[in-house]
Subunit: 461 residues, 2 copies
């Protein structure tokens, strides 16, 4: 069936408001990174799971590629839709369907925006722990499809850990509804795992049952300076053990990053002198402010006494806490160094120091005058590196990618910790996955989407 | 290839010590429940992953069914091997290969026994959080293949949440090695999820990288009596919020269970009077005994003041704590009522009261004089019911199963919370999974094990 005929049939089935074409498509931006117009032949906006199913039945019959669209806040070109592809946007499926206060669950449609979910939980004295910068536009379906991470993984896990039940539509329109609301369900294969983190290539997420926790009643935040890399894992362990289950973030900034976000035009001023090689944000979420704050300060003081931290500031107010986090979150400062290449790698902490040293040395050798900012969720084994080498041509990008990605395999590392693969990292995936793993991924893709219509070319070629 | 010829070929490849036949097989028990001799044609005992791969290459070529054997502590007939099947025991692959104290990981072979893993972690001041009664014989490969739960799920999650990396061998002998040591890895499909909880039907787990946490430095345990079911979820939420991240167990016992384990011949005496309808064990693992104990007692007292608990005892010594847990763990008392049928269901807490009431009513109608003990990990939505109706014939078992399982679907419940499906619950799996889910499970099985040689008949017919 020709694409036009298919779109006519879909318009007839879904009603005209559900099918955008032409300038209605082109006037929309393809995402935070590219800011180019969307190229897709059409954007379909189903209102419920049955409509998603009907769309996929039509497209499957026609062999028509479909790219699921959420908030388009991804960073790896995972939702790029070509001119011959149809975008299926979950934006109208944004209902929060149920909040179970005794079971601590929330049932949502895939288009619900993270911030709306967070606020709904908060209104019941509960917390949906997932949090990241794009909270105002990222939709839960996309967060699930990319297994989003964020700032509290050390305490609450990745998105995968926060999804109890899931509903997804397969390539042929079959609705696979695994909407189970409990932590424990060992009744057959855990099918939801197939759709979490597979970037819309195995099915389109339509609904989910999320896990909530009671809202923390206390928060303690510190900013530390550290003199030696070897102190960082020891400090992490000290805090982790000393703060029991409450440590929720252990974010590390290398010196260059810290200077970037505490020097004008950045709005923050230095909380500690800019002379230390490493800085750490430690955050704890608990239940009882006063004793926990005493404990927090005692544990930090002990760490300083042991020489694991060279200096330390504890936030004594919400505004001090905000000032500390504002440094970490001020990623806009990278725009001083456009074009920049962003990376999101993971590896065991014990390999990070040599990794960064080697990467810097080779960058300096190949790109004198380059700038390389390193920061990340060290507690999760996750480093972000943002590199500026001058031009942004594909050859430069490729050379920088080679420098960063070629050093991962020997360190049991991964080319993506939390952003995913999309189109951007597809060529490098075999650097951190074995041929047998690549084959098994292809086996799954073939078994679940034999015509290859779901988000074609993403993750796997 | 005839089975005998195959076994000769395997003996030649692996060496004679690796292949047990005849009385060496028959002298071994098939497990904790059946206690019958193992029926398998042979037990193969590979020493490393390469040998597992070789065995499966041979068996795959011959279309020979293979049943993976760990500690044989499962409860659902998940490792039963028929006379025409080969058992592949991981017992010789019990090495702990690596302990990374900075990365908080342990690399183990699949035959490592849980208790050995726990002790190894402890020796480094760390904790492997998975814990259950069979710790002395359960092997990690089996615990992973069944996604074991246990007593600390509310705090640390199921086994799935404790596995960072995994190596498994596919039906055709392909080794899929995903031995990644970090929490965060969004580089392509998370293949390990396929093998966790699929009961050896999609691959045989050979090695794993486990997640450790710092050892808790404090523990607080309480035993509570509760007057109304409706108080239980409120109490759970009160403790969960009040104790921050430290609540590690919320175990509930219905009255009959409590009386069973606190009346001779049971060794424990009642900690609180036997007159309350519900009892709760609450356990918290933290980092600082004194302030946390004060907090624990204050939170419990507040719960009593609010009327959520009718009475409460806090353990003031290790022996008092042990006495409280000894009640919960005294499952041997079920043997007073042989034969008994054990169940392991899950559902949202809000449905539990009517569920138990309806089950009891129908049991009483159909089996006057029956005994039904209810207890479980309520914090995880998991109830265990142990039922004795007199005889143990298949018809009686089937009738009891119908009574318990037919009431789950309308409650978003599952026929297995943590034990798995095996052979025992296979017929009931469609009661809690949709036809589309069953089909997708079969699609996976066909794609990954087209000849159906891995643990045939378990989970799926």
């Amino acid at each position: 069936m020709a694409l036009n005929t298919l779109l006519e049939a879909l318009t007839q089935t879904l009603g005209p408001g559900a099918v955008l074409t032409g300038s209605e498509v082109r006037s929309r931006s393809a995402g935070w990174i590219s800011r180019e117009p969307i190229e897709a032949a059409a954007i379909l906006r189903p209102r419920d799971t049955a409509e998603v199913s009907r769309i996929l039945q039509f497209c499957h019959a026609a062999g028509q590629p479909v790219v699921a669209h959420g908030g388009l806040t991804g960073l790896v070109d995972g939702s790029h839709a070509h001119a011959n592809e149809i975008a299926l946007s979950l934006e109208l499926m944004n209902r929060i369907e149920d909040l179970d206060e005794s079971g601590l669950t929330m049932t949502v449609q895939a288009g619900a925006v993270l911030q709306a979910i967070q606020q709904k939980a908060e209104s019941a004295g509960l917390l949906f722990p997932l949090d990241l910068g794009a909270r105002g536009s990222a939709m839960i379906g996309g967060l699930i499809s990319t297994n989003a991470g964020g700032n509290r993984v050390i305490r609450y896990g990745m998105t995968r850990n926060l999804v109890l039940g899931l509903e997804a539509v397969l390539a042929d329109g079959t609705v696979v509804s695994s909407l189970y609301p409990v932590i424990k369900n060992n009744s057959g294969y855990d099918l939801k795992q197939l759709f979490i983190g597979s970037e819309g290539t195995l099915g389109i997420v339509t609904r989910a049952i999320l896990r909530l926790v009671p809202q923390p009643r206390s928060q303690n935040t510190a900013f530390l300076a550290v003199n030696e890399f070897a102190h960082l894992p020891l400090l992490l362990r000290e805090l982790s053990a000393g703060l029991g289950g409450t440590l929720s973030a252990f974010e590390v900034m290398w010196n260059e990053f810290y200077r970037l976000v505490t020097t004008p035009p950045a709005r923050q001023s230095p909380v500690l002198p800019q002379t230390f090689p490493y800085y750490v944000i430690a955050d704890a979420l608990g239940s009882d402010q006063k004793p926990e704050q005493e404990r927090f300060e005692a544990v930090l003081m002990a760490a300083v006494d042991k020489g694991l931290a060279a200096d330390c500031v504890v936030a004594l107010s919400a505004s001090e806490r905000a000032a500390i986090w504002a440094m970490r979150d001020d990623v806009d400062q990278f725009h001083q160094f456009r074009p920049w290449f962003g990376f999101d790698v993971s590896m065991p902490i014990r390999h990070m120091e040599t990794y960064v040293t080697e990467v810097r040395a080779q960058l300096n050798a190949e790109f004198p005058g380059n700038v390389c900012f390193v920061f990340g969720h060290m507690g999760d084994g996750n480093l972000h590196l943002n590199v500026h080498v001058g031009g942004g041509d594909p050859e430069a990008r490729h050379a920088v990618e080679e420098i960063l990605y070629s050093r991962l395999q020997s360190r049991q590392g991964a080319v993506s910790a939390e952003h995913g693969i999309g189109l951007e990292k597809r060529a490098y995936l075999p650097l951190c996955r074995t041929p047998e793993e690549m084959n098994l991924m292809r086996t799954l893709k073939r078994a679940m989407d034999p015509k290859g219509i779901l988000n074609p070319g993403k993750v796997l070629a």
